[in-house]
């Protein structure tokens, strides 16, 4: 999906600032960076997979257009979209537990894999709705999606830090999408808000919440493992 593409770019620019915190995160929670790498890789592959799948949804809807010169048409979108989405999701997924740790308020709400799966399903559903459902106008579409995204956050996250991070990342991602479109890397078939689609921030927000949820769950699992190991030692 082109949308999450932009998340990735956003994240890459933002990752520079989060590096020191990641270092402390390693020191605090995991004593081994390998687990971090594994987690990052898992998040990356999840992101790539979701990007590919959701991209198909968008392609059916003819939302995005990539000029054939820019792309080497491996898939329907540019080759850089899935890796960027993967990177973005890895960074988000690592960032969320890290911020929880920093703030000292561990996320306790619905920490189960079934809940995470539910969250992912709802996220895909939001994408589905944005791609397939016919709305009367774009304002309605944007409002509906915004409500759905907030509902997603309320149902599965309910943490202030999650909300703040989601909003910030969504705004940044929209901005960078705007820049990309403005520079002609790709374009939308029917832009309604300065070159892009107005529902983009909502999708970004929902995606950030979802990836953060997955990342937290993975971190929780790892945390447990590490603490157990520490006890054995």
């Amino acid at each position: 999906m082109a949308d999450s593409t932009v998340v990735s770019d956003q994240q890459r620019s933002g990752s520079g600032q989060t590096d020191p915190s990641r270092g402390t995160y390693i020191a605090v929670i995991t004593n081994r960076s390998t687990t971090l790498v594994i987690r990052g890789f898992m998040l990356f592959s999840i992101g790539v997979f979701l990007a590919l799948v959701l991209n198909l949804l968008q392609v059916q809807r003819n939302v995005t257009l990539f000029p054939p010169d820019v792309i080497s048409s491996i898939f329907s979108s540019a080759w850089w979209v899935p890796p960027c989405c993967g990177t973005a999701s890895a960074i988000i997924g690592l960032l969320y537990p890290c911020i929880d740790c920093r703030l000292g308020e561990p996320h306790k709400f619905k920490r189960e894999w079934s809940s995470v799966m539910r969250c992912v399903a709802v996220f895909v559903g939001i994408n589905h709705a944005s791609a397939k459902v016919d709305f009367a106008n774009n304002v309605q579409l944007s409002l509906t999606l915004a409500a759905l995204s907030i509902g997603l956050w309320w149902t599965f996250d309910r943490s202030r830090s999650g909300f703040g991070l989601g909003v910030v990342i969504a705004l940044l991602a929209t901005l960078s999408t705007q820049l990309l479109v403005y520079n002609g890397v790709f374009q939308y078939t029917s832009p309604d808000f300065l070159y892009i689609r107005s529902w983009l921030p909502c999708i970004f927000f929902a995606g950030v919440i979802t990836m953060g949820n997955i990342g937290r769950q993975l971190a929780l699992y790892e945390c447990k493992l590490m603490s157990e190991k520490a006890h054995q030692d």
Partner: protein
């Protein structure tokens, strides 16, 4: 908030009553629910089944007009899709050609070469046909469907499919519609075949498209029997012109009359295609379904502590699914027709409705007290969760109602379904799932009841074995004292490599995963390479939307002929290579091509006329009338999809075919022959002409048979490798298996399976109460108070304390003193003095205490370990003292000469004690002499036995000499547990206090005269040492209630008490570090080892793992119904046994239950871990060894012949891989076989 509270109460009460109802009448309620589900789903029958098959509609040709877009009133059976012009009209010219009469000089290639060659002239004819009437001149060029580029993904087909022109396909397209290429082609079949896709394909192939008839009907084959070639020329027309078509039909018929053709030509068929689910839509769909299944999996995995997990998970899924069906059914009933794609929104509906309520219900019901009645449990569980369920449901309904006001039709419909689904889901949860749950819980209770009944009725419990569900019932015991070894035992031995490989495969399920991955990859490749599949679709999407022009091969101007696009010289290597021999053959029909439409191919007619009609090889039947029906229904969509024209939700009109019959003479066939045709094919072998057709069948059959035989052989070999040879006569040969029969590893090492006979240590007269060991020695204490010390290696009895024990009087049945000395020997603080004098001499004038023995035990509550305070116990000190005093007062000299072994700061009780038998306050109600208080706890370290008595006295005995070295009577409350670590002894008392003692060893100076001479020096404590035991600290209120468990390791002392808490003390300074709270019942088991892992189990069935360093709880699981009786940890797992006769193995790091072993009744209390993977449990008269990794029973060692009714209650694992267990009044020393030792 009173309203809220009241509401809550009311809801709770209602749920309670409902739960009672459900649990009381499960069957009627389930029947009622099923009936209502069926009733609600009934309207679904009227919904059309989803499908993508095309729909047909037939009209007459004669009065055909293009249907208008607007529905024109009621037009009878006219379907609603029959509006507007079709995408295209399909006009097929069906050609049947044969060489006749067949000549024996002809080669098989002649069957189809010359008939196929005629296609070019036919094409020319059709293309040049012009109909001229008053309104104007019409040609095919004007009428046909003009196509542009092929899809970018189909560049490979550019040579054969027309581009930029009329869509006119025929077999001639293989040769770019050029006769020269055809004539110079040495191998026609190869040309045809080289465009076929490899592997399996679902959509129509190129061959089908060009020939227009199914492959097997074409007759283009070397083995064709009928020698009739059939093909079609398919014209796709963009507009319909009846006059042009009829003139073309007449023209062709005139040229090539079909004599016996009676095809109907008055009907045209309109075929409407439904929307197809393409790959691109399928992938997101499949993804949502995968996520859905993951959700269901993770949800139902949480169902625990029920009889049948699978059953309940199934019930949960059924609940959700049928609620959805009910929702759709109800909506349909009330007139709402679903317009959404059901398959697409279904996963989201499931996720919205969710399985959470069901899980919450299960958890709540399961966590109710086990001992309640089932009805009450269900009701209580329901009412506990009623408020949250109602709250959640109200919230969800609100959210969905908000969604309803978005006023987007699709979302509104979704919300409507979701609302109805939620309500019906609630209904089903309340009625269906609750009832199923009650049935499940009742089943569990019944099972428990069945298991517990024999023990309660006092009947002998069933033989060990049948109740073990995890493994095959052990074979009947051949003889006592033998070991039955089962096959899984090999796992624990040094396995042969091949078995290790197989086990590895089995454990990781590698083969399965490989097959799965392979299948997925294969399907992916299939989907990707399919010509109408994903790749072309995606490529089409890209190129279609690209605003920039397509720069590929589209540079060519629209060709008039429509097909002959030359991409270059390399387009068809076969044809270019064969250019050289081509000129050698004269092209026989140059004049055919030059003909105008008026000059009919006259040569064809004479041929036809010459052909003897008496050999009518070509017959026209009814099946030719609509030959396209035999094609795949994806034929037309795929043809159009190559040009990026979709037929989804549109229709095409298929016009009646134009039959063309061609008869060719053998001479013509020979003339058109290519020089390679004669030598290339094998001799015709006419008499076996029908054989080759069947040959493939035979080949397939033979191959299949061979493969089957191979498979059987392979399986047989595998079976022989894997299975023991005496698989059939299981149990007979087990005990008799010899070395040679066992599987050997590469080194020829065969595990010696010896018959282990447990060493029985006899000597105690009553049941053994305490058991302690330090690896070398073994101390046991029976109910009679006798302590025996055994050599743990040999099983010899080293010492008996007291020297002369009690024996049971056979006449009276009461306890009789064989020797009075025992009394004082035990009770005296300082036996050293007496040791020097012959004991009979000292005590011969002792009063006869036998009349004082009160055998009336009924008047007194039995001395129970936990419940009875010691003061009410058997304390006969006062009586003995009285009798003793009146019989013979103690000699003052003797008393005075008692040395004080402790420093002058000795505690006063000792001093008091030395003056006589002044006991701590003793109720004097019982008139029995003091024999002694029972030993409640015993520990053995080095050579010292620490014994804690019910009187609160702590004694230190020399294990080898059997002499009392030290005694301490600081406490008055009975010692319930002892821990002996280094030189410290910790004693837990019944009143909840905890005493820390220090054992000091001083070299004696002036006491040598009191010591016996013939005592060998003990390894740890020299017998010359004076050992004193000092109370260093007494924690008075360590616990509010009696301390039940006391464990010490790694410098920590951990106590567990009835007051639900666990306390951790430091051993050095007896300082309380933590009080661990977390259990909701008394602590019954504690485990701590050197690695500082601390596990505790309580009466609530919970097991907690603690961090000893921080005092935090690491994990908390409910593992047992009833008390946890025993806990052991290894480095990777925690093993617990409970009153429910279950041994559960937990993963130590995650707290996840790995598996559990159901034991027979009343024997699961004793556990021991011999090595990292070997668990030993005590059973009824037997000891079982288990493999911890697999949960398999390795061996069962039977301890005695009459094992029934005697369970192993205590089990100690010695260092040398032997185990000691009590067995009634005997001790059993079982050496674990040497093979098992090798594990470490």
């Amino acid at each position: 908030m009173t309203v809220r509270e009241r509401l809550r109460e009311k809801i709770s009460a209602a749920f309670y009553r409902h739960g009672l109802l459900c649990a009381s009448y499960p069957v009627p309620i389930i029947l009622f629910t099923s009936a209502s589900i069926l009733a609600c789903c009934y309207p679904l029958l009227r919904l059309p089944l989803p499908g993508t098959g095309p729909v047909e509609f037939t009209t007459r040709v004669r009065d055909y007009t293009v249907p208008s877009h607007e529905p024109q009133g009621d037009l009878g059976e006219r379907p609603d899709w029959y509006r507007g012009p079709p995408v295209a009209y399909i006009q097929q010219v069906l050609v049947k050609a044969a060489v006749s009469p067949w000549d024996s000089t002809l080669v098989p290639v002649d069957v189809f070469r010359s008939p196929l060659g005629r296609v070019f002239s036919l094409l020319e004819e059709i293309r040049n046909h012009v109909h001229n009437d008053g309104s104007g001149v019409r040609s095919l060029e004007a009428l046909c469907l003009q196509v542009t580029d092929l899809l970018p993904g189909l560049r490979r087909m550019q040579t054969v499919l027309p581009e930029h022109g009329c869509l006119l396909v025929s077999p001639g397209n293989y040769w770019q519609n050029q006769r020269e290429l055809f004539d110079s082609d040495p191998d026609l079949l190869k040309t045809v075949h080289q465009h076929e896709p490899k592997g399996l394909h679902t959509s129509a192939t190129l061959r089908d498209l060009l020939f227009g008839v199914p492959v097997k009907h074409t007759g283009v084959s070397l083995y064709s029997r009928k020698r009739v070639v059939t093909y079609t020329i398919t014209m796709v027309l963009g507009s319909y012109d009846a006059r042009f078509l009829s003139s073309l039909r007449a023209r062709l018929r005139q040229l090539h009359p079909s004599v016996n053709c009676s095809l109907r030509e008055d009907h045209m068929v309109h075929v409407h295609f439904k929307e197809e689910i393409g790959m691109a839509e399928l992938i997101p769909l499949v993804t949502t379904y995968i996520i859905l299944f993951a959700y269901i999996y993770f949800s139902t995995r949480k169902i625990d502590m029920v009889k049948s997990k699978w059953g309940l998970a199934l019930a949960a899924v059924v609940t959700v699914l049928s609620s959805l069906l009910m929702s759709v059914g109800l909506c349909t009933l009330f007139g709402l027709t679903p317009t959404l794609n059901g398959g697409e929104i279904f996963p989201y509906l499931v996720v919205v409705i969710g399985l959470e309520n069901v899980l919450v219900l299960t958890k709540s019901v399961v966590s109710t007290p086990v001992d309640l009645e089932v009805k009450l449990r269900i009701a209580q569980g329901l009412s506990n969760e009623s408020w949250s369920i109602m709250k959640n449901m109200a919230t969800e309904l609100c959210i969905i109602l908000i969604g309803y006001f978005t006023l987007v039709p699709a979302i509104q419909e979704f919300c409507l379904f979701a609302v109805v689904g939620l309500v019906s889901d609630f209904f089903l949860q309340m009625f269906f799932f609750t009832t199923v749950l009650s049935i499940d819980i009742r089943r569990m209770e019944l099972a428990d009841l069945n298991r517990r009944l024999p023990a309660e009725a006092g009947m002998p419990p069933p033989k060990p074995g049948p109740l073990r569900p995890r493994e095959a019932p052990p074979p009947p015991r051949p003889s006592p004292y033998t070991i039955t070894l089962q096959t899984p035992a090999f796992r624990n031995l040094r396995l042969p490599k091949r078995l290790r490989v197989v086990y590895f495969l089995a454990r990781t399920r590698l083969a399965q995963r490989f097959i799965m991955v392979g299948t997925v990859i294969w399907i992916g490749i299939l989907a990707y390479t399919d010509p109408a599949g994903l790749r072309t679709y995606l490529a089409a999407q890209v190129s279609e939307q690209s605003p920039l022009g397509e720069g590929g091969a589209g540079g060519l101007p629209p060709h008039l002929g429509g097909a002959s696009v030359f991409p270059g010289a390399g387009g068809d290597p076969a044809s270019t290579l064969s250019v050289l021999p081509a000129p050698a053959e004269p092209t026989p029909l140059p004049e055919n091509q030059s003909q105008g439409h008026h000059g009919a191919p006259r040569e064809g007619v004479p041929h036809q006329a010459q052909a003897p009609p008496l050999v009518p090889q070509i017959s026209w039947g009814a099946e030719d009338e609509e030959g396209w029906r035999r094609l795949s229904f994806r034929h037309w969509p795929s043809l159009f999809s190559y040009y990026n024209i979709t037929l989804a939700k549109r229709y095409i009109s298929i016009l009646p075919v134009i039959p063309v019959t061609l008869h060719l003479s053998p001479r013509e066939a020979i003339e058109t022959r290519h020089p390679q045709d004669t030598r290339h094919p094998p001799p015709p072998s006419l008499k076996t002409n029908d054989l080759p057709a069947d040959l493939t069948l035979y080949k397939v059959a033979a191959l299949g048979l061979a493969a089957g035989v191979l498979l059987v052989l392979l399986l047989f070999c595998l079976y022989r490798v894997l299975c023991p040879r005496n698989y059939g006569q299981n149990g007979v040969a087990h005990g008799r298996r010899r070395r040679g029969d066992l599987p050997c590893d590469d080194y020829g090492y065969s595990p010696p399976i010896s018959e282990i006979s447990p060493l029985l240590l006899r000597g105690h007269s009553m049941d053994i109460e305490c058991l302690a060991s330090d690896g070398m020695l073994l101390a046991s204490c029976c109910l009679a108070g006798q302590i025996r010390v055994w050599d743990a290696q040999t099983g010899d009895c080293l010492t008996v304390i007291p020297k002369h024990g009690l024996r049971r009087s056979s006449s009276s049945g009461c306890w009789e003193q064989r020797d009075g000395g025992g009394v004082f020997d035990e009770d005296e603080g300082y036996p050293l003095r007496r040791r020097t004098t012959p004991r009979p001499a000292l005590f011969e004038d002792q009063p006869d205490l036998t009349p004082l023995i009160d055998t009336n035990f009924d008047s007194q509550p039995p001395s129970h370990l936990l419940l009875t305070p010691p003061r009410d116990g058997f304390d006969f000190g006062g009586l003995v003292e009285r009798a003793y005093l009146e019989h013979e007062p103690p000699s003052p000299g003797l008393t005075a000469s008692y040395p004080s072994p402790s420093p002058p700061s000795g505690p006063p009780p000792q001093r008091r004690r030395s003056l006589g038998y002044i006991q701590p306050p003793v109720p004097q109600g019982q008139g029995t002499p003091d024999w002694e208080s029972a030993v409640w706890a015993m520990e053995l370290r080095g050579n010292l036995i620490a014994a804690g008595r019910s009187s609160g006295k702590l004694e230190l005995w020399d294990a080898v000499e059997g002499s009392l070295r030290c005694s301490n009577e600081d406490g008055v409350s009975g010692i319930t547990a002892l821990a002996f670590l280094n030189n410290r002894i910790v004693a837990a008392r019944l009143d909840g206090s905890l005493d820390f003692f220090t054992v000091d060893i001083n070299k004696p100076l002036g006491l040598l005269q009191y010591r016996g001479d013939n005592i060998p020096p003990s390894p740890c404590y020299s017998s010359e040492d004076v050992i004193s035991c000092q109370l260093t600290r007494s924690v008075q209120c360590a616990h509010q209630k009696p301390i039940t468990v006391l464990r010490a390791a790694a410098g920590r002392v951990v106590t567990g008490s009835q007051d639900h808490t666990v306390r951790v003390y430091r051993l050095e300074d007896s300082c309380c570090l933590f009080t661990l709270q977390g259990h909701s019942g008394g602590i019954t088991a504690i485990y701590i080892d050197q690695t500082m892992v601390l596990a505790s189990g309580g009466q609530d069935g919970a097991i907690c793992l603690w961090d000893v360093l921080t005092g935090s709880r690491v994990s908390h699981v409910y593992g047992h119904r009833g008390d946890v009786t025993s806990l052991v940890c290894t480095t990777s797992c925690v093993i617990s046994s409970g009153l429910d006769d279950l041994i559960s193995i937990w993963d130590r790091s995650t707290g996840i239950k790995l598996y559990s072993i159901q034991q027979e009744v009343g024997c699961g209390a004793s556990l021991g871990v011999i090595s990292e993977s070997l668990l030993v449990t005590g059973g009824q008269g037997c000891v079982s060894f288990w493999d911890l990794n697999f949960g398999d029973l390795l061996q069962t060692v039977y301890l005695g012949q009459s094992s029934d009714g005697q369970g192993v209650r205590q089990l100690v694992v010695l260092n040398n891989a032997a185990i000691v267990c009590d067995f009634g009044s005997e001790l059993s020393l079982v050496y674990v076989p040497s093979v098992l030792e090798k594990l470490d």
